[in-house]
């Protein structure tokens, strides 16, 4: 045997990552889960690798998963939405503010607010060609300012029971209710991106906006659609979050901003657009959620947590960039 065929057949991680990123991500997810289990046992906290904890991980991951869903769509077009966290906060606030008027009305108002914020972002980016980063960061500042003014006013705040159940309850002991929101949306996005016209156009615009325009795609419509959906999904995430926390405050969704971008990047969607998908993002959201549990078990202070979190995100993004660059 010569050395040449051996080299070709060696199953390198690089190759595997390039060929099937989802498999590698699943491996990483399982590995971190087992690692957390070992750490938890070592600290005398018992097993972590239980059905209960797996169920909890999915319950936690739904909020991040929804925020990262909008982020995925936006990043596929080559943009970024830094207003997802404050939009989610706005959604959470709306639900608790209008909770006394029944949950359908409260949820509807929250979703409409999310849609409006998304549309404003979209108008800025799509029609006025404002840099996505600035537009969404600016809108985020405006939203937070308005929320602060609102929060100072006296009002009865009540999170409807339905929303609390949706955000924190489980059916059949192990199935979180919020999966009934997340799973259909996830399926819709994954299938929609692959098979629908707008899905293909999102990739086209992200890959090469000029070519897409010349091929007859109305770029501005695609961008407007993507940012509007992102606002809507962020508000939905905010509803689940306030259901879980049972109270809204101004910082409720802020810790999700970096993870929402990180989940997308870890999931293999290129920040320059046109490459990736939502399936990877879901795994990214799950990985980050377990990571968060691990940091909680390690009893890390907010400061240490933030540092470790940033570094891990950097490391994962770097590994991914290296793996895909090798192709």
């Amino acid at each position: 045997m010569s050395a040449a065929p051996q080299v070709r057949e060696r199953p390198s991680l690089r190759r595997l990552a390039g060929d099937s990123p989802a498999a590698v991500l699943t491996l990483v997810f399982v590995a971190i889960f087992i690692g957390t289990d070992i750490v938890n046992r070592a600290q005398g906290g018992g097993a972590f690798l239980t059905l209960k904890q797996i169920s909890t991980t999915f319950l936690f991951a739904a909020v991040l998963g929804l925020m990262a869903a909008g982020q995925t769509l936006v990043m596929l077009t080559g943009g970024v939405d830094l207003s997802v966290a404050t939009t989610a906060t706005a959604g959470a606030f709306a639900v608790s503010r209008f909770g006394t008027e029944g949950s359908p009305k409260a949820i509807l108002i929250a979703l409409v607010i999310g849609l409006v914020i998304g549309l404003v972002n979209g108008i800025g980016v799509a029609l006025f060609r404002v840099n996505a980063l600035i537009m969404t960061l600016g809108i985020s500042t405006i939203t937070l300012g308005l929320l602060t003014v609102q929060a100072q006013k006296q009002f009865t705040s009540l999170v409807p029971n339905f929303v609390v159940t949706l955000g924190s309850g489980r059916v059949l002991t192990y199935i979180p209710y919020d999966l009934f929101v997340w799973v259909p949306i996830a399926a819709l996005i994954i299938l929609g991106l692959r098979y629908s016209g707008i899905g293909r156009m999102i990739y086209a615009v992200g890959d090469n906006p000029v070519a897409a325009r010349l091929a007859g795609v109305r770029t501005w419509q695609v961008l407007l659609f993507v940012y509007a959906i992102c606002g809507l999904l962020s508000a939905a995430a905010g509803i689940l979050l306030v259901g879980f926390n049972n109270a809204a405050d101004l910082g409720i969704a802020a810790p999700f901003l970096l993870p929402s971008v990180a989940a997308v990047v870890i999931g293999g969607t290129s920040i320059f657009g046109g490459l990736g998908g939502y399936a990877g993002t879901i795994l990214g959201a799950l990985i980050l959620t377990v990571l968060d549990s691990l940091l909680t078990i390690l009893n890390a202070s907010q400061a240490v947590r933030q540092i470790i979190y940033g570094l891990i995100v950097l490391a994962l993004a770097a590994i991914y960039a290296r793996a895909t660059a090798a192709e």
């Binding site: 970024v80 800025g124 006025f128 060609r129 404002v130 840099n131 980063l133 600035i134 537009m135 960061l137 600016g138 809108i139 985020s140 500042t141 405006i142 300012g145 308005l146 602060t148 003014v149 100072q152 970096l258 971008v261 990180a262 990047v265 920040i271 320059f272 202070s301 907010q302 400061a303 240490v304 947590r305 933030q306 540092i307 470790i308 979190y309 940033g310 570094l311 995100v313 950097l314 993004a317 770097a318 960039a321 290296r322 660059a325």
Partner: protein, 334 residues
Amino acid sequence: MTVTTAVAVPQRGGLARFVRRHGWTIGIYVLLLVLTLFWRSQTTVKWGPFDVQSLVIDALPLCFAACAQSIVIISGGIDLSVGSMMSLANVVSAKYMLHMSFDEAILFSLAVVAGAAVVGAITGLTIVVTRVADIIVTLAMLFVLGGLALAVLQVPGGGAPVRFQSLVSVDTVLTQWFPAALLILFGSFALLWLTVRRTRPGLALYAIGSNRGAAYLAGVNVKRSRILAYAYSGAFAALGGLAFTAASGLGDPNAGGIYTLNSVAAAVLGGVSLLGGVGGLIGPIAAAFVLTLVKTLMILRGVDQNYAQVIQGALIVLVVMIGGLAIRQKGKGS
């Protein structure tokens, strides 16, 4: 373009060319002047040197943040970690300066600026080596540096020598209309930027921002220049944090929070193109004053502080929108 104008331009001399090239920067200074005159007419008590002083104190951290952000944007990148870097410099200085003498505090400040430049360079190095997008790396650094700031000081506290504080708050140079803070601002601008602006490394920053591929082919060391840009950003952000310490006499781990967005806004308003390669620091410094003055004016007229923030945010977005449209029109015209 007709032949006549092409011939006429060089004959008309330097002024027309200067106005054409620096139209935006001149515009922002005119805006600053108009706003200042309006501000003067609005104040009920006698408007004087004290008002100028307080405006400079308010604007100083943002001026430095705008410089930090502008250099990175000129080089074709973006630095979302500017705010956290300011917080970190702020809490580190406030924590350790508390019992220092004035001289020690000055030396310590220089060390903080140098350290921040090193941290900035590490950010740049990370971007260059890992090839992860600058947005992701600096967003991660925003959290890492913010976490470090929180680890240094969990709640606002610390302090600075009185004389160090008066350097920014009460000292004046020659006349009472010229606050020492302005001298510090333009001094560090001249020392850090003007000395480099026209040299090889400085021009390389513009080159890589304008066209990275062409710069590489022209023999520019792209990687080294990108790292330099982030080192500059770190140094200027640290100056911003120190200015905050001197102005408030306090260290606050969340002090830098708003400066990431506002620094980008000041850069854009100051004529720095987000596409890279265009602009300078003179414009963004004026833009930082304009942004601060707008907020001062609103609070003066009794607008709620939070509404003032909302309006300021809306103005930033509007300015960027109009700026974007202007660039598009210009692009269509030529």
